[in-house]
């Protein structure tokens, strides 16, 4: 069972939710979800605070604390019970609790997707295009008939690399990658996957 721990400051900030009506509370929860997704708009916070007649600083800190809650729970992929257990630390009303749980469950997949984008990774392959040519002549040699592959590789960091390969190299590259692919179906991999789980 995995639970999130809040420090005292965060607990205080979240207690703030208790003092509000359900409508207002849920609005703030929504703002924190948007905040997490990247739609952070300080003006929006200002508007919400004035409209709801609340001190802006408190609203802001509550939003940050809620974002922490959602970030950690998505990161750890908390189950429903674990999430509720964590939220219990601030003893919310039944309605607030339900509102938080609903927001979490609805947005969890997307939040995990955003987190994995932010994770450490090497640029990944976007596409590989190829063309088969026959090299006939150049300025210095004529009367050739050499088949040559032109390849264009695009990676996710917007790099495009052009290179050529002759048939043998391309064939050996294909064979090597096929072997790599087979590894994902091998016994060894399945065993490791089982042990880690």
């Amino acid at each position: 069972m995995v639970i999130i721990y809040f420090n005292n400051e965060q607990k205080e900030d979240l207690q703030f939710l208790q003092e509000l009506s359900f409508e207002v509370g849920s609005k703030i929860v929504q703002v924190s979800i948007d905040f997490f997704k990247g739609n952070y708009n300080p003006k929006l916070l200002q508007n919400v605070s004035t409209k709801l007649n609340l001190p802006q600083l408190k609203v802001e800190r509550c939003v940050y604390a809620l974002s922490y809650l959602f970030t950690e729970s998505s990161k750890l992929s908390l189950s429903k019970s674990d999430f509720l257990e964590s939220v219990n630390a601030i003893s919310p009303t039944k309605e607030i609790e339900e509102c938080l749980l609903e927001s979490y469950q609805k947005n969890r997949e997307e939040m995990r997707r955003i987190l994995s984008e932010m994770s450490l990774k090497l640029p990944s392959i976007d596409s590989l295009q190829w063309r088969l040519d026959v090299q006939i002549s150049s300025r210095r040699t004529s009367n050739e008939a050499k088949p040559v592959y032109l390849l264009k590789l695009k990676t996710s960091d917007n790099r495009t690399v052009w290179f050529q390969a002759d048939y043998n190299e391309l064939e050996s590259m294909t064979n090597q990658l096929e072997i790599a692919l087979k590894e994902s179906k091998s016994q060894h991999y399945k065993r490791i996957k089982k042990y880690i789980k």
Binding site: K75, S116, S124, L128, W130, L150, W162, E169, I196
Partner: protein, 190 residues
């Protein structure tokens, strides 16, 4: 094979060079082409030093051009000899030249002509590694395999550039399918 007038002229200029020097001249020419000698050899040779330098320059450059053109057009020793016979070059010289040519043209071809062609980076090697991602500091319970692929590309001057990228199983599957199509295309060609 076509030669400019001045090149052809250099052949007739050969008559002005004493026959005894012809062999040395040929050794110099092929030495330079095989990158085993350079023009300083002229200083070291008594007989070559005595020849008028303008004449020597003209004959030398003319002969080098003839040899290189012959290689570019894929002539063998016999066809070169035939070609030269039609140009009134001294017969004995033609014989010496075509013999030396026959022995060395493959090597000269390798050294010069195939390394100065227009060249994209060439794929020479591929390495791959498969990892299983467990967690990161941003997200836990990832539990997915990832492949790291490393291509070695060689530039014209021999420098090797490494191209690294990652892909998941689906992307690797697509990549393998694309490559298999490419390999199949060649098989249907010949």
């Amino acid at each position: 094979m076509e030669l400019s007038k001045s090149n052809l002229n250099s052949l007739s200029l050969l008559k002005k060079i004493p026959k005894s020097v012809h062999q040395e001249l040929l050794s110099l020419i092929f030495g330079v082409l095989l990158q085993q000698a350079d023009e300083t050899e002229i200083e070291k040779s008594q007989s070559l030093k005595q020849i008028d330098s303008t004449l020597l320059k003209e004959v030398f450059s003319g002969l080098i051009t003839i040899v290189i053109q012959a290689i570019k057009n894929n002539l063998n020793a016999k066809s070169l000899a035939q070609f030269l016979k039609d140009t009134n070059a001294p017969t004995e010289f033609v014989g010496l030249l075509s013999t030396a040519y026959g022995k060395t043209f493959q090597k000269i071809k390798e050294i010069h002509l195939e390394t100065t062609g227009f060249y994209l980076k060439k794929l020479i090697d591929i390495n791959w590694r498969m990892d299983y991602i467990i967690k990161s500091n941003k997200i836990e319970q990832i539990d997915k395999p990832v492949y790291f692929i490393d291509l070695n590309l060689q530039k014209k001057d021999g420098q090797i550039e490494k191209l690294k990228f990652s892909c998941d199983t689906n992307q690797l599957q697509d990549l393998v399918t694309t490559l298999k199509d490419a390999v199949l295309a060649k098989k249907t060609l010949k």
